[in-house]
């Protein structure tokens, strides 16, 4: 084979490759400039959990232990207790409530089994992914922290994309 055909073939191959490269430059960027810009996450993103409350702000959790039973990583620790005061005075929906509710994010694999197992819609995934800590024991989050996570949702550096709407699947 002559040297000329070699050069021609090489230039052809390079042009093909660069054509793809240059075609992407004018398109929308996929990388985020986190933390300067918010991150886009889907609505079904499985971030740090939050504990749900009812319309009156009472904890929904009845400490049934189903989430900890479903947890493959054994990350949830619960202690149940009884509060016999009337609904208006107590902090929970039912008489049975969680005195201690800890999730160990050193163990948690964010699989979402706990959310699926919950019969009371008391635990849900939030959209927080900023879970890095400098102290290992800080990975264990208690009930007070998880309850406040719900309020923190609005202040998170994320833009939540509604997958259903985006794909035009909503009715």
């Amino acid at each position: 084979m002559s040297i000329i055909s070699d050069v021609v073939e090489t230039v052809k191959a390079i042009t093909t490759g660069l054509k793809i490269t240059f075609s992407y430059i004018p398109r929308q960027k996929l990388t985020n400039c986190y933390p300067d810009e918010p991150v886009e996450v889907f609505s079904a993103y499985r971030g740090e959990h939050y504990l749900n409350v009812d319309e009156n702000g009472k904890e929904r959790c009845v400490a049934c232990f189903l989430c900890s039973a479903a947890c493959p990583a054994d990350a949830i620790y619960i202690e149940a207790a009884e509060d016999l005061r009337p609904y208006e005075e107590r902090s929970s929906v039912e008489e049975r409530y969680a005195k201690v509710y800890n999730i160990d994010y050193g163990k948690c694999i964010l699989c979402g089994f706990c959310v699926e197992a919950c019969p009371k819609d008391a635990i849900r995934h939030g959209h927080n992914f900023e879970m890095a800590v400098t102290n290992f024991s800080d990975l264990i989050k208690d009930k007070e922290y998880l309850l406040k996570n719900r309020e923190r949702e609005s202040r998170l550096p994320v833009v939540i994309i509604d997958e259903v709407k985006r794909r035009g699947l909503s009715k």
Binding site: F65, A80, E82
Partner: protein, 741 residues
């Protein structure tokens, strides 16, 4: 002999004794029939109608829990019709059952959950509003949620028939029917033994223990089968623990000597193992005050003091155990005293000297299963209802199921005497030897003995006749029979034994290991040694006993005369407060070992909790002391190896090992039975001294024994159980209000 019949169930040929319930035959042969109201040994109820089956030539579906098998019966349990009927029954039950399984403590081991998963439908057909009733506290122990109740009446029947307490009933009618004591709507609470059997048999979460409320869920706790540490019956129980905490005691589906039966102490009396008051470190008296120290310091101090005292006079050091110790601890303690310290002053503090009983035994001990089959029961003293509830249960069973004749001699009107006894001789307190003598002696002296016992001579004659008429006799001896009377009672069987009559014994000692610690060599000589304190005895090692609480000031004074008092206990008891050194020990839940119950059965104590690591088993403390003192007594490093020594040294225990206990659960030790022919005259002369002691000025104690007088008594262990304290308080209030004690 009952004849066997042949039946056909789902095409399978089965053989069964005639008259047996169809559901029992099916369940025994592995044919599953769902049920709620059926419970072994209870009268059939046919309330839940879950066990419907098709029997050929019967017009409708029949309840298999009430049908007795007949020859040639053809049964279908799996047809579409039967399955549809089951679905319908479950639908009816769920019509009023709240779906609060996440809150209900039964969730996870609920029979209704299981049945609905196996036989029910996904959606109920009833959309009417459910009855909305609140939860009731029937007692400090038992909570009742009428909404969850499926009206199977197991609780009522078990209370009536097995417990003979009759505390529960059906209140209101129709859809509003509830279970409870009469007057439940007016806030009346249960007046019963608080045994919690109703909670155990409840198939759903209608009756629940307050004690273990919300503490854990069935799948979240670890359950260890172990032996109860309260009375001498030695019931098997399942100890549920979560992490390092006590959760509950259950007995469902257990196959031990007690089946599913447990009393108040068995079911609720173990939570002291997680008490805040548990000692966690050794204590040493410094400047008159007990202060926490490390193990090394405490052991070094005790070893040095014991060594110094022992060097002057070996017998100046005394070692006393307790009938609550495991066999292993008692054996180590006895060996340490005998071979290590070489002192002759060792034993245990006990009121009943059972050594005299076992030395003269002339008939074997009956197991609880054998008591159930007894034909004639002769009870000399004892109140098993209050003190040995399993023995009481099996005696009641023998009377209820087999029509056993119960002949009772007692100085108090106990419950069993009032309700089960065919013949009850109400005698003067302490007159047991007179009754025994009347049974041995010829008829001429009956009048004299009757006078002594304050009964009619005719009654004694009838008792004698009933005993001589019996074919299989069980002699039950209560704890008030002591000394020479106990010895004669043990020899008494030799007179009755014949080819046509089988005689067996049942004794009712007060503590869980009264028999075992005796076998290990701890003689019941504590009260004798007490008189030597301060004079001959200078130092005392006291393991697991609290005599100051039990016997009061006389022991307090005696103990204060000692130069050195070492106490090994769970709590800072009244006795421990007088001690120079206190060692914290492991509770029964934190160690391995064995107990020997009243009928001589060896049963395992299994470790359920890890413990804090700063407490030690009794035998380990002994080992540490012996090592520090430089004594050699054959110390072993584990409970299993100590038990191997026990098996090789004590004849009754030979051949028993932890491996065998794991397979067989309870192994009865073989007691030496004397075969010498006893002469009535010899027995009578042995009784003479005891008869002379009878106080003729005493009148009959006519007051009936009140429920809970023994069961709700607070001791060193039970006073650390919150619900037991509440039961005791409730009993006090009733006594104060009624003025009856």
């Amino acid at each position: 002999m009952t004849e066997t019949v042949k039946i056909k169930v789902d095409g399978r040929e089965l053989e069964a004794p005639k008259g047996k319930l169809l559901i029992e035959v099916c369940l025994e042969n592995g044919i599953d029939i769902p049920n709620f109201c059926y419970y072994p040994d209870l009268t059939p109820q046919a309330a839940c109608r879950m066990c419907l089956v098709r029997i050929e030539r019967m017009p409708k579906l029949a309840t298999s829990c009430t049908v007795q098998v007949q020859d040639g019966m053809v049964v279908t349990t799996q047809s579409e019709e039967v399955l549809e009927a089951r679905k319908g029954m479950l639908d009816l039950i769920l019509g009023n059952h709240p779906l609060d399984c996440p809150i209900c403590d039964k969730g996870g081991q609920c029979e209704l959950q299981d049945q609905v998963f196996a036989h029910g439908t996904v959606y109920g057909r009833y959309e009417v509003k459910k009855n909305d009733t609140r939860e009731w506290r029937l007692s400090p122990f038992i909570a009742y949620d009428p909404q969850r109740c499926v009206r199977c009446y197991r609780c009522i029947r078990v209370c009536d028939e097995v417990m003979d307490v009759h505390a529960l009933g059906r209140i209101f009618r129709g859809a509003k029917e509830v279970i409870g004591p009469y007057g439940i709507d007016k806030g009346y609470s249960l007046d019963c033994e608080q045994c919690g059997y109703c909670v155990e048999v409840c198939p759903v979460g209608a009756l629940l223990s307050v004690d273990s409320r919300f503490r854990s869920r069935p799948w979240d706790m670890r359950e260890t089968i172990t032996t109860c540490q309260h009375c001498a019956d030695g019931c098997q129980m399942r100890l549920g623990t979560r992490g390092s905490q006590y959760v509950r005691v259950a007995s469902k589906d257990l196959k031990g000597i007690n089946g599913e039966f447990l009393c108040i102490k068995g079911r609720y009396g173990s939570s002291y193992i997680s008490s805040e008051e548990r000692l966690d470190n050794p204590y040493l008296r410094k400047d008159g005050k007990l202060v926490e120290v490390g193990w090394e310091e405490a052991i070094k101090y005790v070893a040095a003091r014991l060594k110094a005292i022992s060097a002057e006079d070996r017998d100046a050091v005394a070692v006393l155990g307790s009938p609550r110790l495991t066999n292993e601890a008692a054996f180590a303690l006895a060996s340490f005293a005998r071979k290590g310290l070489k002192t002759s002053n060792y034993g245990q503090i006990a009121d009943v000297d059972l050594t005299r009983f076992f030395a003269n035994l002339t008939a074997p001990l009956a197991t609880h299963a054998e008591v159930k089959k007894a034909e004639t029961i002769f009870m000399l003293g004892g109140d098993p209802t209050e003190n040995n509830p399993l023995s009481a249960m099996v005696i009641r069973y023998a009377v209820r199921k087999n029509g056993a004749r119960l002949l009772m001699v007692n100085s108090r009107r106990t419950k069993i005497a009032r309700r089960q006894a065919e013949m009850f001789l109400h005698i003067r307190r302490g007159a047991e030897p007179a009754v025994l003598a009347a049974l041995i002696d010829s008829d001429e002296n009956a009048a004299r003995y009757a006078e002594l016992a304050k009964v009619k001579p005719e009654q004694l004659r009838r008792l004698g006749k009933a005993i001589s008429d019996s074919k299989r006799l069980l002699v039950v001896i209560g704890p008030e029979v002591n000394g020479a009377t106990l010895e004669v009672a043990a020899r008494f069987a030799a007179l009755l034994k014949s080819d046509s009559r089988e005689v067996k014994y049942l004794i009712l000692p007060p503590y869980n290991n009264s028999v075992g610690t005796l076998d290990m060599g701890l003689r019941p000589n504590g009260h004798e040694l007490k008189s030597l304190f301060g004079t001959k005895i200078k130092a005392l090692y006291l393991a697991g006993s609290n005599p100051v609480e039990q016997y009061g000031n006389s022991w307090k004074e005696a103990l204060s005369k000692l130069d050195l008092l070492v106490v090994a206990d769970l709590f800072m008891t009244e006795t421990a407060q007088l001690a120079d050194v206190v060692f914290p020990v492991n509770s029964f839940a934190e160690l391995d070992g064995t107990y020997t119950n009243a009928v001589g059965q060896v049963q395992r104590v299994n470790r359920a909790l890890e413990g804090t690591g700063r407490t030690r088993p009794d035998w380990m403390i002994i080992n540490m002391l012996a090592k520090e003192m430089g004594l050699e007594f054959g110390a072993r490093g584990s409970a299993a190896s100590i038990f191997r020594d026990i098996a090789s040294e004590i004849p009754a225990y030979s051949g028993i090992s932890y491996d065998r206990l794991r397979k067989e659960w309870a192994i009865q030790t073989e007691r030496k039975i004397s075969t010498t022919a006893e002469q009535p005259d010899a027995l009578l002369s042995a009784l003479k001294g005891e008869i002379a002691k009878i106080d003729l000025s005493l009148d009959l104690d006519r007051e009936p024994v009140r429920q809970g007088s023994g069961l709700f008594r607070l001791g060193t262990l039970t006073s650390r159980v919150a619900v037991m304290r509440e039961a005791f308080k409730a009993k006090e209030q009733v006594e104060e209000a009624t003025g009856v004690r």
